[in-house]
Amino acid sequence: MNLIEWANPSRFLALSARVLAWLIPATLLVFAAAGVQAYLAPDDYQQGATVKIMFIHVPAAWLGIFAWVLMSAAALGTLVWRHPLADVAAKAAAPIGAAFTLMCLLTGSLWGRPMWGTYWVWDARLTSVLVLFLMYLGVIALWQTIEDPTRAARIAAVFTLVGAINIPIIKFSVDWWNTLHQSASVLRLDGSTIHVSIRVPLLAMIAAFTLLFLTLQIAAMRNEILRRRLRTMLMLQADAASGP
């Protein structure tokens, strides 16, 4: 059986039910362990206890970007292979990605006020993440306003791939421009600059949030498949009602 056959919506529903049965308890367990580590993590020598905001801000930022990368991969599946499950994955990821990007903006703002003295500044990192959030709202609006799901998927896929140019801009904005936001400290070629006592809980929280994202994504994809089934049933019923 090849990958395309596994991606059949009916087979996906059966397989995903089994995956979710493991994924939900795994997410809860990893969150419990990561939460304890984050709670017990020491204060930063400069930032004090506000460093605890990092344990939700960085995972939210990671997932805001990851969801768009996932949507871009799904967009290729839509445009190249015209696979309906790729459409489903892209549509399901958009509101989840938007929610995590909003979380990133809100927690960053609440971290910025005590550390920078301001909730917001129009620097390259903050602005590019705000642009990402607006792009999510744009792609959600496309899905909502175009009635035919196949046509909506193609237009949303083109929009997503064009918008993907913002992902490296977000990542490298702190290197390319002089920003108030700090430069990369987790993923660096010369190693992380975060002390191990804070890095370990941070990585644990990133793992927990990633599992949460996968759980929500699979659940939202199952809903979208049901929504398409419902649409088909309504159309067949309307056909039957309109005559032989």
Binding site: D43, A49, K52, H57, A99, L102, L110, L226, L230
Partner: protein
């Protein structure tokens, strides 16, 4: 607990409250969406509506 968070406790608590509210909102939205979809599909099925794949199976059975 908030006393141990220092002078910026309000910012830390607000950030975590916002994160919890957003995650809870996502979970509730997905759960309610699923419940609504399953309810409407069940209503349609009880009224005799079928899916395309079910129709194909029914037609095959008729031919046999």
């Amino acid at each position: 607990m908030t006393a141990s968070l220092g002078p910026y406790a309000a910012f830390i608590v607000s950030a975590y409250a916002a994160a919890i509210a957003i995650v809870a909102g996502l979970i509730v939205w997905i759960a309610l969406d699923r419940r609504h979809l399953l309810r409407v599909i069940k209503e349609l099925e009880t009224r005799g509506a079928t899916r395309r794949s079910q129709r194909v199976v029914e037609r095959k059975n008729e031919l046999v």
